[in-house]
Symmetry: C2
Subunit: 311 residues, 2 copies
């Protein structure tokens, strides 16, 4: 694709062309450097969407809940973009695909854009790709962007940090396990959704959570995606979190912080590539062999090379 | 801890002092820069251990299998180090702790060192910490180092790549799902262990796997940790993989490749820190605000800053 074509692609995305959006999304997913040109051009059109992170263990019904959330937002004429991210896709692709099928109600709705993401080994990693995908959906005029991740490992935490509002989804059965996860949950969650309240033990689970997170900073919202209950309340809580954080300035601070992180990550990638070029493949191979032979340790080599490169 | 104390700590580790080893492991886990001094000093004593990666989905019985493997290696008087790594610890700590209890048989055995690892947010990330932990166990004279990871996400793949021999653990029920995971498994696995062969459907699962991976490059070993069956065969296959790969040179090539990766990762970290220092906190904050206000895109800022820093 030539530069002019990329500019026309960008114009079509901003105008709301879904096929153009899908093409650009594929550029990001495949790690194509042309994606950068599109993001640069679309950037002035971004910064309007509300990004909602939805995370939790497998089996908590996240996808069904997102399905219901989407329906609720669509009733209010909001345009919705959904990114389903699965960093550990190798061993759970089956489950994720199964969940995706549940979202088929929205596949024919032009106001909803859904994409599953499992980019392994792309430059800058998965979170860089998701960050660009969020920019793209934002520039394409989505009002609400939902980023779904499974579990909360290092990758998932990075991804959750991209959202303005993070919803952690739990379920009744989780019981005593929550105790051990308290610190981790408090670190990421703005809202707790206790899904599957149609299951036995829901009341008790909510009481447990209220005892644990009872200071009122993290609202606890009981939901049942299956029975379509609590969805309206969840949307209200998400909106309230947005309004509150815009009001007290934390929304803006988080946005600046995210921009700073993105900047550092991009800068790091750029410098890394330059450095590897500067040191040269041959020198790297030679030093790696010295290390492998245990004639020197890697830390000493790093000091040598950094000194030579003038860093 | 002063420099001289760190040197004495290192000497004690090399001499096989388990308490010294545990102290140094804590330095790594907590991201203490003193760990670097220890690794540098211990490095000439490393490169002897055989590192075995064991990975697979939750519920496949990896920990019990490792328990049995360890017992088998101990019968042959091998010293064993075990690192149980869980990058998604927030939502599965319960399960992991439960599994750890099963290894209590070895807790009193001085020839076995066990450590759970779930370092989030350490400098260089989890895989850097695991790499250092492997160096440490290696320098402490462990003959066999088993690195256990759950699932195969980006983090887990990086960690699996640290091992000389990677065992992927599956179980009978997995059935048709394996089809979709074929490419991913072939990418990481040197050996497939089909655990829980005491469950129904084991025969069929093994036949399916043989049809999928039937070219003979990846041995398929049926095991039952519960019944203590197939363990000897698994150890034989691991040993054969080592002997074969040493013989055909792939062992050495992998070792050089790992050293090269470690070197690049350390170099990247170092340069990143230098760069952030060079650019300065204030400039970063100012640029992040410009980006947040959408007055400029992050890619253009990166080009500006890199040019200024002379990169």
């Amino acid at each position: 694709m030539a530069e002019t074509n990329l500019m026309s692609l960008t114009r079509r995305i901003v105008a709301g062309d879904m096929r153009a959006l899908a093409s650009a999304m594929t550029l990001i997913e495949s790690g194509d450097p042309k994606a950068r040109t599109v993001i640069k051009a679309i950037y002035p059109h971004t910064g309007k969407a509300h990004v909602i992170g939805v995370t939790g263990a497998a089996g908590t019904g996240k996808s069904s809940l997102i399905d219901r959330l989407t329906a609720e937002y669509r009733q209010h004429e909001k345009r919705v973009g959904i990114l389903a991210v699965d960093p550990s896709s190798l061993f759970s692709s089956g489950a994720l695909l199964g969940d995706r099928v549940r979202m088929r109600d929205h596949f024919l709705d032009a106001g909803v854009f859904i994409r599953s993401f499992a980019t392994r080994g792309s430059a800058g990693g998965l979170s860089a790709a998701v960050r660009d995908a969020v920019h793209l959906l934002d520039g394409a005029g989505k009002d609400i962007i939902i980023v779904e991740t499974i579990g909360v490992g290092q990758d998932e935490l990075e991804i959750a940090a991209l959202a303005h509002t993070v919803v952690v989804v739990l379920m009744p059965e989780i019981g005593d396990e929550v105790q051990g996860m308290k610190a981790g949950i408090a670190e990421v969650a703005d809202i707790l959704a206790v899904n599957k309240t149609d299951l036995p033990g829901a009341e008790q689970a909510i009481q447990q959570l209220e005892a644990l997170f009872g200071d009122g900073n993290i609202p606890i919202v009981p939901t049942s995606a299956v029975k379509n209950e609590g969805i309206h309340l969840l949307v209200n809580n998400i909106d309230e979190h947005r309004v509150k954080s815009v009001g007290n300035g934390s929304y803006w601070r988080k946005r600046v912080k995210l921009c700073r992180q993105e900047l550092l990550a991009l800068l790091g990638d750029r410098v890394f590539v330059q450095l590897a070029k500067k040191v040269g493949d041959e020198a790297l191979d030679r030093q790696a062999e010295r290390i492998a032979e245990r004639r020197i340790d890697p830390y000493s080599v790093v000091e040598e090379l950094a000194k030579k490169a003038g860093l």
